[in-house]
Symmetry: C2
Subunit: 229 residues, 2 copies
């Protein structure tokens, strides 16, 4: 019975996600799903990296939050189109929510869509939002054991940002163990050490994002203008 219920919820979500993927591909929009704990630094990362991406790339952001509009306001303050989804207490974003947010964006004017998920290392990992890339944050203050404790979050990440490395001297974070566990769990992930405070790693992350966008847009069939149109 439990399985039936889960499958029904999942397949409704999956149907919406498949539809969102088509919408995004038709507009040649590349999508990143940004995930991490509460306070890992997701919004700060967006604020910091944005100047290295925009306006060369036309970026838009969907912000997930339980109740507030704080994060969308921070992103909008940079002049970036931002839509807030309030889940009213729900622990992850899903296909229907993304559909609603897409309807509020000028899709013809976007190259890169970043979806900042709810601050949560558990539930968001289970919900494909139709993204092309998963970018997962872990801050050094959370501890290196989070890789093995929350493997679903990190095993499918295209890139993992180890954030707040400026705090490494003040915390007990076993850097070698972090690399060992992450590489074992997810050998394909690109790993960045980053600090929004010192700007360490920001340029490298921005470059990776640009390469992701370029690679994906080559994959997506370019719009062919037929003679008759």
């Amino acid at each position: 019975m439990k399985i039936d219920i889960n499958q029904r919820i999942l397949s409704a979500h999956e149907a919406k996600t498949a539809q969102n993927k088509e919408t995004l591909a038709a507009k040649r929009i590349v999508t990143i799903n940004l995930m991490g704990s509460p306070g890992a630094g997701k919004t700060s990362l967006l604020e910091s990296v944005m100047a290295l991406l925009s306006p060369a790339l036309r970026v838009a952001v969907i912000e997930g939050d339980l109740f507030t509009t704080k994060d969308a306001e921070r992103v909008a303050a940079l002049g970036i189109p931002a839509v807030q989804i309030n889940t009213r207490g729900a622990c992850h974003l899903d296909g229907s929510m993304i559909e609603g947010a897409l309807a509020q964006l000028a899709l013809d004017e976007i190259d890169l869509l970043i979806i900042e998920n709810i601050g949560n290392l558990v539930c968001p990992a289970e919900f494909d939002l139709g993204e092309d890339f998963r970018l997962c944050l872990l801050s050094v203050t959370e501890g290196e054991d989070k890789i093995s404790k929350y493997p679903l979050m990190f095993k499918d990440a295209n890139a993992v940002v180890l954030n707040k490395v400026d705090l490494l001297p003040y915390v007990d974070f076993a850097l070698e163990q972090f690399y060992q566990d992450l590489t074992l769990l997810n050998p394909k992930a690109t790993i960045f050490e980053l600090s929004c405070r010192t700007a360490a790693g920001l340029a490298e992350l921005a470059e990776w994002i640009k390469q992701c966008v370029a690679a994906k847009r080559q994959e997506i069939a370019p719009v062919v203008i037929h003679g008759k149109e």
Copy 2:
């Protein structure tokens, strides 16, 4: 339809929780539900405060984790009875899981049961585990905005621990805003500033826990030995 499903799941959980509460009350065990983000420092807090509680109080711990037994091992290393619940990916503990864990503990030998929930600021807040007290952790590295962003977690806390205050000089944490938001949301919460590194606040927290246990055990009817027994 959605509401029906939720209600069915919730009431199964609630029935188990009511039963667990009876079991715990019959044994005069006081229970604390310890919650917070991944890496907020829940297990470290347990390790640090335990020496101030035990053996004067006979403490046992239930550890919630998705997959690993790391946390229970850390607690057991202190000589404290510890049972690990692995949720296999689920984002919170529930009544059935607690029932299973209670069956593995020598309930006649416990005064205080601490349940360390899954590292998650969202889902655990919605599930009463039959606890007498809720103790919620927020670390300064997570940011003061988490109070307003995750209000369900903090609004019913009996005490909130602001953890890792030794890192305050190195992070942008608006202490005044934290107190203002938390006091507005939950005026009854006792607030502790704490650091496991410097031991600041540990004695005060231990004293609060002892007072909670004493107060609750007075409430719970003492075992009356009848003449005939």
